[in-house]
């Protein structure tokens, strides 16, 4: 049985992040998801439209919500794979719910196009949220035919999927764990990555590259020093900045980092036994092939032991411990 969801792909997935779209489409059937694309959707405005026109920015987003609800026919979830699209759709819905004056104004604007939207009538959710919380880790694991044993992955969430989290979908805005659990379900080894929700620089790669290069270096360096073979992303902007701009960053700092960045759906597809080309693997700037060559047939013993060692005392909060120095 499959679940029908309304689907908002967003502009980036049309071209720059085409491999994200390809991999989403390749795994959707195995996840039991039917994705019904919102017809004639428009750009969500990213972080730019709202910086220029406040009310019109909400109207721009609300047109998509209105079109989606016209198409709903029983489905109540609108999902987006892009972090910025997801957040814009979710925030306009939430702000229309919280601010009746705004809702009235936006609906008056929509009326000029013969549309309307009832705030709260759709649940706007990022695709990772749907996969982790609806499909579930067990169901994902059940589809794994080629576990990603031996592949060390840095789970990178970025900002806007987990913050500000208008509908309370995640366990923590700075140290979420859903993607970690999903990657483990695929058989991958998840490295400790304290920068998992640090900023990739967003549009700063274009308007203030020096700021962005510093942020990108921090993320890539963090993944490298944690021993990650690959960073996994869930947003086209993060992937673009960490992948394509990794080369620019290297040039800027005279560094030589080589960490490929793949979408979580691409890693899922690999574990489901789908051919890399069908998942858009090969379109990244930093070649992922050497990293993927680390995938083994057997689960590495070391990884199990390392995880098993991490237990906490049952009798209280974890505290730093002083060890007596043996003479």
């Amino acid at each position: 049985m499959s679940t029908r969801l309304l689907f908002y792909p967003g502009c980036s997935l049309q071209r720059n992040a085409r491999s994200y779209l390809d991999s989403v489409m390749a795994v959707r059937g195995l996840l039991g998801l039917e994705l019904d694309e919102v017809e004639d959707w428009n750009c969500c405005g990213a972080t730019e439209y709202v910086s220029v026109h406040r009310t019109a920015a909400h109207a721009l987003v609300a047109r998509n919500l209105a079109l989606a609800s016209l198409q709903a026919a029983g489905a109540d979830t609108l999902t987006a794979p892009c972090a910025a699209c997801y957040l814009n759709l979710a925030k306009t819905d939430q702000q229309m719910r919280d601010d009746p004056r705004l809702a009235a104004t936006v609906n008056e604007a929509l009326a000029a196009g013969g549309l309307s939207y009832q705030p709260g009538s759709l649940k706007v959710r990022h695709l990772l949220d749907v996969v982790c919380h609806d499909v579930g880790y067990e169901a994902v694991q059940a589809k794994v035919v080629r576990p990603l044993y031996g592949l060390k992955v840095a789970p990178y969430y970025g900002c806007q999927v987990v913050r500000p989290d208008p509908d309370g979908r995640w366990d923590d805005p700075e140290h979420p764990t859903a993607l970690d659990r999903l990657l483990r379900a695929l058989g991958a080894e998840v490295v400790d990555y304290p920068l998992k929700t640090a900023c990739c620089g967003g549009h700063m790669t274009v308007i203030g590259p020096e700021v962005a290069y510093g942020l990108i270096r921090r993320l890539v360096q963090g993944a490298t020093s944690a021993g990650a073979h690959v960073i996994t992303a869930l947003c086209p902007m993060c992937q673009l900045n960490l992948d394509a701009y990794q080369l620019e960053m290297n040039r800027h700092f005279r560094a030589d980092y080589q960490v490929p960045v793949l979408y979580f759906t691409q890693l899922m597809g690999l574990a489901f036994g789908i051919a890399p080309a069908a998942l858009g693997i090969g379109k990244e700037f930093v070649d992922a092939a050497p990293a993927l060559a680390h995938i083994r047939d057997e689960a590495p013993e070391g990884a199990k032991q390392r995880r098993a060692r991490r237990h906490r005392a049952e009798d209280g909060l974890p505290m730093p411990r002083m060890h007596a120095v043996e003479p």
Partner: protein, 198 residues
């Protein structure tokens, strides 16, 4: 000797005080943004990935808003260096919608022509142009139009990336226009008119 009497006249209601800049910013931000509750703790600036590049930390900026320093606030680069990472928003002990306040300040600066010629606002305006023309964003057009104007000397160094994007099928030469562009334009025009009359 005539008595001095106080001038009398019809009772005059006190003039409604014009809204302070703080009130204006709060009213323009959706929902209750709680900006008036700022306790100047500085968690925002300390959390900001672009903080060191800002003319004023968010904390300073909020004090300036309260002090009514309209020009200085709207000319500051601070809101333009906000990358929308929402760290400050989730860490603020007063739950102020800081990122949303930054959006408000950017749009106010553009509306009053105080920041128009600067690089980040031009990027936003160029992006908006494409959306209003096609209903979708257009990466190649945005990148070339913006870089030609602001970083013409960097174009040769960006060429390898552009070619790399093309080679990998990650760039397209022509924008895609949505079918109901006319409907979208009417909606956006109405929204702008409503905001202007509010």
């Amino acid at each position: 000797m005539s008595e001095v009497t106080a001038p009398t006249g019809p009772a005059v209601a006190p003039l409604p005080a014009s809204p302070t800049f703080l009130e204006e910013v709060m009213a323009a931000t959706p929902g209750h943004c709680r900006l008036n509750t700022c306790i100047q703790c500085g968690s925002c600036g300390g959390s900001c990935p672009a903080g060191p590049e800002m003319d004023h930390t968010p904390r300073q900026l909020f004090a300036m808003i309260r002090a009514g320093m309209v020009d200085e606030v709207l000319r500051s680069n601070t809101s333009w260096f906000c990358i929308s990472c929402y760290f400050c928003t989730v860490r603020c002990p007063q739950q102020i919608h800081i990122t949303d306040v930054m959006y408000t300040l950017k749009s106010m600066a553009i509306a009053r022509g105080l920041y128009r010629e600067h690089t980040p606002s031009h990027f936003s305006l160029t992006f908006v142009d494409y959306v209003e023309q096609y209903g979708r964003s257009f990466e190649l057009g945005l990148a070339t139009r913006f870089n030609l104007r602001h970083y013409p000397l960097s174009l040769p160094s960006l060429a390898p990336m552009g070619l790399g994007m093309l080679k990998r099928g990650r760039l397209e030469f022509t924008p895609r226009r949505i079918e109901s562009m006319e409907q979208l334009s009417r909606i956006l025009e109405r929204a702008k008119a409503l905001e202007a009359s509010a």
